[in-house]
Amino acid sequence: MKADRSISERLWAIAVWALVVFFILNFLAMIATVVLNSFSTRWFGTWLPAAFTTRWYKSAWDEFQLHDVLIVTFEVVGAVVLLSGALGVPAAYALARRNFPGKRAVILLFLLPMLIPPITFGIPLATVLYQAHLGGNISGVILANLVPTVPFVVLVMMPFIEQIDPRIEAAARVFGAGTGRLFFHVLLPLLAPGILAALLLVLVRTIAMFELTFFTAGPGSQTLVVALYYAVYAAGVRAGQSIDAMAVVYMLTTLIWLLIALRFVDPTQIVTRVKSEAAG
């Protein structure tokens, strides 16, 4: 297939790669702008900042109460990860192992919260949560964030469990393992890599989940991404470098977990799990 390359095909290939490079270059330059600005004393009208300092991190830490915001973020993310695992994995196991009537409807039920964007269902959800006196505090934020993540865990874990041979479990039963031993000694070790991957993806997605947290959070239950939004929204109140220092803190929190997650999953998995289920 390589022999029939004409000049036009080569030009086309160059154009395509140029586009990719242009895209990535702009993205990296954007990130570099944020990082440089957070370390700059003053940056206006020049290619590079006049001088560098780390004091904006100190001021961002104090001004935006980053200490509290980070604690809330980790509480929310931790709870969402554990609860979506506790709810999602058993459901995925049931759907993978049993072919009960109405299974397609149940799968569709889990697909919907992943296909409908959070903005659309976020407002009715927040209304209901506020009526139940769960809005504006951390439990409401956790509940709202679980809505897309529980189905996500179910849909990621289902094919993973399907490829584990059920005869392994049957064999354990034959040798006299009770349900408890079957679960802890057979199923859990087999499922661990899948659960780890799914929960890491949930973690990364929840740190960056803006809309649902934004609609349900009160003053004391903002996560990092919502605090960042408010800071950018009220830009001018604070120094731009201070906002960018917070943006860098946010990027670091997200990217550290993304790097860990990428050790266990393929990058395409972050977007494509939904699709393969939707196609089926």
């Binding site: 206006f44 058993p90 209901v128 950018v232 972050i270 699709k275 196609a279």
Partner: protein, 299 residues
């Protein structure tokens, strides 16, 4: 259980066994908590919002919808949203095809896919903040434009800013979807076409595109639905009182500035209906393209 078998004919097994035969037993019940959760926090709120939208603060049951469609400040948001979402979706999905076609032959795909997953992970708020400086009047992008003699261009706090942020966050998503669809297509089909003398153009239109149609339709749907619900970048990077006053801003203002949950629900329902409508159109037009076996199945 014994009571059941006594009253029924002898050959009829007990209820538990009959249910187990239809795969309804203790294991199936494991799905129940998650199902109840989604019903309680997704289906119920949606139904609640739907009903609530017909119970306006004042006026008859259709008052919210009538108000929305008679006030240009409100109904214009639909056009503004489509005006952003449709070009952004088309650019993201269509540009992703030639790039994915190149990338799939690459051995070290992982470097590129990892790089592209970063903007998706960072999310729209961070991209908005980054672009505000990067594309701003003193940012690097404008400085390069001035250097090459094009001159300063206004790229933020307008339509262009939101569009660029939609491309920056939406293109990697569309690309990774297209790539995963393409790699699912059996390469021997294309090799067979090449052996039979099919040129690159013909192979693309006659072999790849029909096989890709299903995936592209889903890609278009997901990309559209995402761009249609643009919120943070429309506020931060756009002109939220002007050209980029999208429908999600109207819904947000109704809910959190006027505290009118009923009106906010009505707008959310209209937003959902628009998304559903476009998804239905895309999925229906897919069958014009191609009927038959889907995706990359080798059968």
């Amino acid at each position: 259980m014994s009571e059941v078998s006594l009253t029924k004919p002898a050959e009829r097994p007990p209820l538990g066994v009959r249910l187990a035969l239809r795969d309804l037993d203790g294991v199936t019940l494991l799905a129940l908590p998650a199902v109840l959760f989604v019903v309680a926090l997704f289906i119920y709120p949606f139904a609640y919002g739907f009903v609530l939208s017909f119970k306006p603060k004042a006026g008859d049951w259709l008052a919210n919808y009538r108000r929305f469609f008679s006030d240009p400040f409100l109904y214009d948001t639909i056009a503004a949203t489509f005006w952003l979402a449709i070009p952004a979706t088309l650019i993201n999905v269509l540009v992703s095809i030639p790039i994915a076609l190149r990338v799939r032959r690459l051995n070290r795909r992982r470097v590129l896919t990892t790089l592209l997953v970063v903007p998706i992970t960072l999310g729209t708020v961070l991209i908005a903040e980054g672009l505000l400086i990067y594309l701003g009047p003193q940012g690097w992008f404008n400085r390069v434009l001035m250097l090459v003699g094009i001159g300063q261009v206004r790229l933020v706090h307008n339509y262009t800013g939101v569009m660029l942020s939609l491309i920056l966050s939406g293109f990697p998503f569309a690309f990774l979807l297209t790539l995963s669809h393409l790699t699912g297509i059996d390469p021997s089909l294309e090799q067979a076409a090449a052996t039979l003398g099919g040129k690159a153009r013909a192979r693309f239109w006659r072999i790849l595109m029909p096989l890709l149609a299903q995936g592209l339709a889903i890609n278009l749907c997901l990309s559209f639905v995402q761009t249609f619900s643009v919120f943070p970048s429309a506020v931060l990077l756009g002109a939220p009182a002007g050209t980029t006053r999208v429908i999600s801003i109207a819904a947000y203002q109704a809910a959190y500035e006027q505290y009118d949950a009923s009106m906010a629900s009505a707008i959310a329902m209209i937003m959902g209906f628009c998304q559903l409508g476009v998804v239905a159109i895309i999925l229906a037009s897919r069958s014009f393209w191609y009927r038959g076996a889907t995706g990359g199945s080798k059968g």
